[in-house]
Amino acid sequence: MLSLDHLNVVFNLGTRRAPVPLKAVRDVTLNLEKGDCLGLVGESGSGKSTIGRTILGLNRIETGRITFEGVDIGNLNRKSEMQLRQSAQMIFQDPHSSLNPRMTIFRSVAEPLVLHTSMRGAELRERVQELLNTVGLETQFLYRYPHELSGGQKQRVCIARAIALNPKLLVLDEPTSALDVSVQAQILEFLKGLQQRLGLTYLFISHNLAVVRHMCNKTAVLYLGRVIEEGPTEELFQKPLHPYTRALIDAVPLPKSGQDKRSKLIRGEIPSPIDLPPGCAFYGRCPHALDGVCNLTEIGHFSAGADRYVSCVLQDPQRSAALS
């Protein structure tokens, strides 16, 4: 349904004459089938949000292709663009800043309907009310302004706006990370139910591993713009193959007693995405790094079971064959 094929996105931090390229997304290939919920996990600078925004046409594709229902997103005409705008929608991290502070809830939710349909007047109001009911908001909010709503309510408004045109794909960019946990739980469950009811496909972008594990059937882990591991969620979490995935999972503090206040951790910080050294981007922090291997050559993706890929030399079948 949605496929990313060797996608590269580059930002220019410099000027046109003296460009400073930042490779935000490097050679990413992903596939979503109808009804999937694919989790994109990574820390800041991993390019997870950039991927989402690129799918919605907010960033320019450097090389590679994104196809959505067979249509190449890279070159759209006006008609197919309007088509895409209806069938793919995005929900952003901060519900507060994704609503225009000068627009009432009614006008915000009505915006896509006004843009794409001929609904007006009473019909429009009815549809907006219906949408608000769908996301569990009372109609008393219709003529309120965003600042009068709580974070969870605002995110529900954003969801109502996103599903107004019956889209097929929702890109959820950290949809709950600005929310409190009790509200997060409600929104997550609501999104899950919505997916089943409307047969939606989700691209779920999050830094929160527990949330991704709860929500997604497939997960891809990103590090500095590259997918370093990908697979069915449960398998990936139970048996992470890439040292970074392992470290990421270990770093999350759990809500239970009896944890050691100190634990063995990966050292160092994420290197700057400008001027990346050759080889594995995780080389500098990896506890298993092999000098002369990991820091020299680009690491390919190795298959590790059904639908599982990992980008680490330790998982290279040829190498392990050669060693043994």
Binding site: S182, A185, E189, R213, L248
Partner: protein, 336 residues
């Protein structure tokens, strides 16, 4: 039992707003013992930040108004302390670190300059005869940066804050907080803006420094995982009240307040495979006009008639575990 380093007693605080009086805190009681770390956890609007802000007198009044209570530090009520006394306590006896280190670092001075200034200012505030030279102050600063495990400490002294990464800035801020050798560290969401791998490093650092420098810690966070991992005791706050306190094991393994239980059922737990997150339906009560009785009653699945009439007081359970709920004993037993 060891001595408390700070004790907040019957603390109530109001804010004057356009819409009326906002009852931000109601009868808050918290104690941190020497060498202990207390995690204060709760959701937006529960008053966790407000509680600690006034320990250092950081809330402007008006609009804030202390209605009742005292904050005892070493037996002295900080709410009644004179400005000169506060000046001596702030940063030297009690230090604070914040969520966004960039806001608290001055972007136009180097890291070294800012640390040195703090050392000199502390020296002046202490008012001891011996004057410390700039050179000595610099040595102290580098020593401290090494202590917070900032790589290339000496070189970093001449860097500006924007040249550091988020994790490194937080280390600098911790160094700045601890350079006056405080006895109590207040950490307000210290890792919220950081990535998980960096968060883990910072939490570990704080744990190590607590032991090394014999610190007591008050850590405010919304993340139950952070509290569970890095604190000894937990206080759960809801709508301006402390609803439950106890050790990490008591609160996480035997939660005795329905709100705590609701919170724990709201987060996806990587080890228990829950299929449905329950969440807590409903909203925070309007603190401009707080309801009678228990403030959680409206959202509570176990609420009884009494809950809407009588405000529950701290119900002591075994081993210092306290829950402000009429049903605390029953719930604690049931959650075993």
């Amino acid at each position: 039992m060891s001595q408390p380093i700070i004790e907040i007693r019957n603390y109530s605080l109001n804010f004057w707003t356009f819409d009326g009086v906002y009852h931000a805190l109601d009868d808050v009681n918290l104690t941190v013992e020497k060498g202990q770390s207390l995690g204060i956890v709760g959701e937006t609007g529960c008053g966790k930040s407000v509680t600690v802000r006034n320990i250092l007198g950081l809330l402007p009044s008006p609009p804030a108004e202390v209605v009742s209570g005292e904050i005892l530090y070493d037996g002295k009520d900080l709410l009644k302390a004179l400005p000169a006394e506060m000046h001596r306590i702030r940063g030297i006896e009690i230090a604070m670190i914040f969520q966004d280190p960039m806001t608290y670092l001055n972007p136009v001075f180097t890291v070294g300059r800012q640390l040195v200034d703090v050392v000199l200012a502390h020296n002046r505030a202490r008012g001891q005869g011996e004057k410390i030279s700039r050179k000595d102050a610099e040595t102290r600063a580098i020593e401290m940066l090494n202590k917070v495990r900032l790589p290339n400490a000496e070189k970093q002294m001449s860097n500006y804050p924007h040249q550091l990464s988020g994790g490194m800035r937080q280390r600098v801020l911790i160094a700045m907080a601890l350079i006056g050798r405080p006895k109590l560290l207040i950490a307000d969401e210290p890792t919220t803006a950081l990535d998980v791998t960096i968060q883990a490093q910072i939490l570990e650092l704080i744990a190590e420094l607590v032991e090394e420098l014999n610190l007591s810690v008050m850590m405010i966070t919304h993340d139950l995982g952070v509290v569970a991992k890095s604190c000894d005791r937990v206080a759960v706050m809801y709508a301006g009240k402390v609803v439950e306190t106890g050790t990490v094991a008591q609160v996480f393994d035997h939660p005795a307040h329905p709100y705590t239980q609701g919170l724990l059922r709201s987060i996806p737990h990587p080890e228990k495979n829950v299929s449905v997150l329950e969440g807590i339906p409903g909203f925070l009560p309007n603190l401009l006009d707080p309801p009678a009785g228990c403030r959680f009653a409206e959202r509570c699945p176990r609420a009884l008639d009494i809950c809407r009439k009588v405000t529950p007081v701290g119900n002591p359970l075994a081993g210092g575990h306290v829950a402000s709920c009429h049903l605390a004993e029953e719930l604690e037993a049931a959650s075993a």
